[in-house]
Symmetry: C2
Subunit: 217 residues, 2 copies
């Protein structure tokens, strides 16, 4: 249905639009113009309109955008109008932290279970979410229609586990392991590399002063 390629920058901005619209809704705002939104979000109005127009015309001339309507349309674009079933591979600290974060479920991301090779962790529950042994992965994925697997395990085991869950039917990997999983093209991978993030932070801190001299033109 959508023919033209959506640019990466646009996709990155969508969740932010969604967040701002959610806040507007909370404040009871019914309608908003691209101009007003642009001031709040500190982007140009033109960019907002063009971003949204990639997916269709959600506004109306002379009126602007209806906030609840646009909010729900962006949810559809992001695919968070439907439920997604998730499992967490690796029930260590990070896995548990994610399991504990209830906001994901509000957006339709249902954490169905956690898995670990460590027998000591198996049987434990976090916020009602149980830890299963990896032997039960295949059955669990198929029975619970699991689409997404969060990988919160050391990098040594990450690739193996990714390939395993994909062979069982998982469509997407939310990868917290610091490794390049090169997987088949039809598998979605979203990386969260905390150590890289921290290195970029370090880079910025280290080179902070470099740019100051650039401002005077």
């Amino acid at each position: 249905m959508e023919q033209k390629e959506i640019s990466r920058a646009v996709i990155k901005r969508l969740p932010r639009y969604y967040r701002y619209l959610g806040e507007l809704m909370k404040d009871g705002v019914e309608r908003i113009s691209s101009n007003e939104l642009s001031e709040r979000m500190k982007v140009t109005a033109s960019q907002i309109r063009q971003d949204l127009n990639n997916f269709g015309g959600f506004g109306q001339q002379g009126y602007g955008y209806n906030v609840p309507y646009l909010y729900s349309e962006i949810a559809k674009i992001l695919g968070i109008d439907k439920q997604h079933n998730i499992i967490i591979i690796g029930a260590g600290n990070l896995g548990q932290a994610i399991a504990n974060y209830t906001n994901f479920e509000r957006r339709g991301f249902m954490i169905k279970g956690m898995f670990d090779i460590n027998p000591r962790l198996v049987g434990m529950t976090v916020r009602g979410i149980e830890v299963y042994p990896v032997e039960q992965l295949e059955e669990f994925i198929k029975e619970n229609d699991v689409q997404i697997a969060a990988l919160t395990i050391p990098k040594t085991k990450a690739k193996e586990m990714a390939e395993k869950v994909i062979s069982y039917g998982v469509k997407a990997i939310w990868n917290f392991a610091h490794i390049d999983l090169d997987l088949p093209e039809d598998v979605v991978v979203e990386n969260v590399h905390l150590s890289e993030s921290l290195m970029r932070l370090s880079y910025k801190v280290t080179h902070m002063d470099d740019n100051i001299k650039e401002i005077p033109r």
Copy 2:
């Protein structure tokens, strides 16, 4: 010293170069050409050379790059050759998960303490890292030369706490709260927005099939 602006894409690739070089070192590889590295990393040799040349000439004609030397030079560029002192604001699950992750310390990121408003968490220790009350923030930051604060608290309090720690001398915020902290320009902010990451993942899963029709030309 460095005059030309380094592009964002280059900075994003630096940690990956660093990771690959680290693995080469582990394997005892002494030298590598941009060509060989390009094959392993699946980028062009030209890109590797140009990326590195933004920061100086680390290679040698006819020889290539000395792996340990290049590794240590990239560490310098990233600023991870020096120690960085970190505090974690918010001793909940995510804060604890980060505190437990020992790899950061191997790269020189020393987690000096955690802080929380919840009196029940104060006094607790995670891997030897103590949780302090927020009242002690100012003193602690000044005494421990804290440069970086990781914000792992709900977004309602995030901005306030960010401003507070900055006023006490923190230079950089590693922001896990789902909010735009617009802070002074001389403060470094690195965002880790897990919910946005998950939404992008959802987008990709939802629109996975859209692109398949594009491949046949």
